[in-house]
Amino acid sequence: MTPLTLLAINLVLVGCGDFGLHRRRAGPAGLALGGQDREQPALSGQGEWLASVVERNGRQSMMMQTQPLGTEVPLPSLRRFEPHDSPSLSWNGRYVALLGQEGGGRRRVLILDRASGRLLPLQLPGDLQPEQLSLAPDGRRLALAGISRGRRLVQVFDLANLIEPDLPRGLAIGTLANPTPP
């Protein structure tokens, strides 16, 4: 592609409208949440699952739904860690990573393996107070944003020794490098 062609495409793209984009509001299916807030959306790698944060019984609670039907799947093992924050999903929605809170008010980074039901609280080295997270879709890494010694920073952690990968459909476990769906 020549630089001139690129420039031409660029000029067309910038400021180009988005008429015809298929869009929808993620309805709060399964709950009478009309008029309530719904925040912090996270889609699984190919969009079969949507996690978001809604208010339930006065607390921020993560809601996990199938897409596009919106059927809610309850995750009772996470309830005792409400309020929830910053959910993130792996490729097939097997892993749910999120910030939760313990009884003493201490924030925890949690990873739920929906295949086994195992809940994995992470013990962070150092004094990072996490505020936001992002789970790599294959589950191999986790990025945390937070405050450490008064400084706002992002740290990345390797989860390879803690959880097995969750790869897109059609890729065998053990497939390396940049998994993208077939």
Partner: protein, 170 residues
């Protein structure tokens, strides 16, 4: 007496096993210890204060503050190198949220420009952005891009409430 000697050894072994068991239980209570990716963390330290991470494939997108100005940064986690994003970081824009797909070709960004908040898709190969209007009208805040890059989910302030819109990407 011989039995006593063995008992002492057994006691020591028992104590050792007991301590290890207690340590394991304690670790279990405290949680699993993930390993930091140290070369990457050092590179992130160099970038300055950072926030709003998005991981997908080998890519890490985030917002970092360099020289007092927030900008979108895209790093390859494998070699810790930032990749250029020509045309994305305008001097008059304040990025609020960023999401990246697993191929690292497209980024979804929410930013403030001249008092308005806008959502856009940036394509690296084309070095260009496409604005995505909120319909019905609303103010976007946090965005995430599906790992396969085919849809984005965005938090939108509309009629005094936060809602979630799902928008397919052509």
């Amino acid at each position: 007496m011989i039995r006593g000697g063995w008992s002492l050894k057994g006691l020591r072994l028992g104590l050792l096993a007991g301590s290890m068991g207690a340590l394991t239980s304690l670790t279990g209570c405290m949680g699993s210890l993930p390993q930091p990716v140290l070369p990457l963390d050092r590179r992130l330290e160099e970038l300055g204060p950072s926030r709003a991470p998005s991981l997908a494939g080998p890519w890490l997108a985030l917002i970092s503050n360099r020289g007092g100005r927030d900008q979108v940064v895209l790093l390859n986690v494998e070699d810790q190198r930032p990749v250029p994003l020509p045309g994305l970081n305008r001097p008059d824009a304040q990025p609020l949220s960023v999401g990246v797909e697993a191929k690292g070709e497209r980024l979804a960004v929410v930013r403030q420009v001249e008092g308005r908040t806008e959502l856009l898709i940036y394509r690296r190969r084309l070095m260009g952005s496409q604005l995505i209007a909120m319909n019905p009208p609303g103010v976007p805040r946090r965005v995430m891009l599906r790992a396969d890059g085919r849809e984005l989910a965005v938090e939108v302030s509309r009629d005094g409430h936060w809602q979630v819109d799902l928008i397919e990407i052509p």
